[in-house]
Symmetry: C2
Subunit: 282 residues, 2 copies
């Protein structure tokens, strides 16, 4: 039984060992590929997004939890300060042409205005299945971010800086959402490389089987280690005293970032991949 | 002549050697002080702001220069995308209570709406001279940022991501502006510690003398070295391969950050200090 399973997984295993190699190496990779995005470019984008997520969390950690910013009765208009700000900024960003790309997914997509400037045709949108635009897990991201993640990396308290606080929240939410919805490209690359491995599970709408096919523990462990390392490096207090290393206090707990990836970012990326694949043959 | 000058500067020199010690040390400092902000807290805020500036520049460097975002004729409404976005976001942030603190200075202060939520009285505003709110160098920041700094750390080109680009620009502008306008606190601390040193130059409105009193080359050199070190650490490509260090390509040139501090951040901070001091006795 184990042998059969291993055989069936062998091509995917090779592919993921490649991915693992790429993930743990910064050497230039030459790949002959006609696609606009490749395993290589997808990997680079995911790795680069880690830095943005770590930076955004460090910036949010400047402020305490600031619970009035999340109180829906505080403004008197039915919205929390956070929701009021995110709705307003998304509307403004839509006007100047955001949300044309598969990885840029609004949290409040209803009634977004049309873009004012002429927008370039998004190459990436063309290369993904047209149904990709409908795939979103932003409700889940909104929920875990405010109720579970935020208390893990902010101090308790209220310093009154609600505007700066929710502006920082929005940067975190956008970075996390972009990373997770980049799963659409991951799924497309994996499918294009081995359609025979995915098509049966897609046809039978077997979410569990697809999730199995998309899960590679060694790759996920490497990602967790790398984001923890990034959090340590980027959140240290840097001084000119060379003897000061080791005494540093981190601005965020590096383990919170690996936990974020373990519990939410990587599972939700795979949800995006599964939902994308289920639409891939339609 | 030199001896007289040295004697006059001695108390300030001692004060700045203290500041220099603080700048190059992360050890906790105990200071008996009744002020809400002290040399210690001002120093910590300035050092913390360096990290925010470096993060924001690294994030902006994800996109090329993207000149259409700065073309005033592109949108057809008289504003560049950048100005349209900054005006809109400042208005939104003012509604949720921003711009109540001396270091939070809008780029487009006219016609900003009143805050919707009840705002806390800003302790810091109370502790500074009331005229401090009028001190702003944001026009100079806007000008050097777009015309001189941006081409130094972005690649040439146009990838069409104008919304993300100007959202990143706004984060950079806010971080740089906050750091520079923190000069109001620096000036207040310095004045409170030694009013006798500053009062004659304030009374005679001697800007050059005040600039002299506020300039300490050794401190500035230390700041430049530290921000360059931060840029190196935070913009490196982090991998799990321990042998990979030394091969890294930085996401921004660390020398651009020390140049930013040398040419604009520190001189404009001192302009804010001088302008604040000139109002201090009114």
């Amino acid at each position: 039984m184990l042998e059969i399973k291993l055989k069936a997984f062998f091509p995917l295993l090779i592919q993921h060992l490649f991915l693992y190699h790429y993930l743990s190496s910064q050497l230039p990779i030459s790949m002959a590929c006609n696609n606009k995005f490749t395993l290589d470019s997808v990997r680079d984008a995911l790795i680069r997004e880690e830095d943005s997520i770590v930076f955004s969390l460090i910036e949010r950690a400047r402020f305490p939890y600031n619970s009035p910013a999340y109180d829906p009765s505080f403004l008197g208009n039915g919205f929390s300060i956070a929701e009021f700000y995110v709705r307003g900024t998304e509307s403004l960003q839509a006007k100047i042409g955001r949300y044309q790309k598969p990885e840029d997914v609004p949290f409040f997509p209803n009634d977004l205005p049309s873009p004012l400037p002429p927008t370039k045709d998004s190459q990436s949108q063309v290369l993904l299945h047209p149904a990709s635009a409908s795939v979103t897990v932003n409700k889940a991201i909104w929920k875990f971010y405010f109720t579970e993640l935020l208390p893990l990396f902010t101090t308790k308290g209220d310093d009154g800086n609600y505007a700066s606080t929710v502006a920082s929240d929005f940067v975190c939410l956008q970075a996390i959402s972009r990373r997770i919805h980049y799963g659409k490209y991951v799924a497309e690359v994996k499918f294009t490389d081995a359609p025979q491995d995915y098509s049966p599970a897609i046809s039978s709408k077997d979410r569990d089987k697809l999730m199995d096919l998309l899960t590679f523990v060694a790759v996920e462990e490497a990602v967790k280690k790398r984001v923890e390392k990034k959090a340590r490096l980027f959140s240290q207090n840097v001084t000119l005293d060379e003897n000061d290393s080791g005494k540093t206090q981190y601005k965020i707990n590096p383990l919170v970032v690996s936990h974020l990836y373990d519990k939410w970012v990587m599972p939700l990326t795979k949800v995006v991949e599964v939902e994308y694949l289920l639409l891939r043959l339609s």
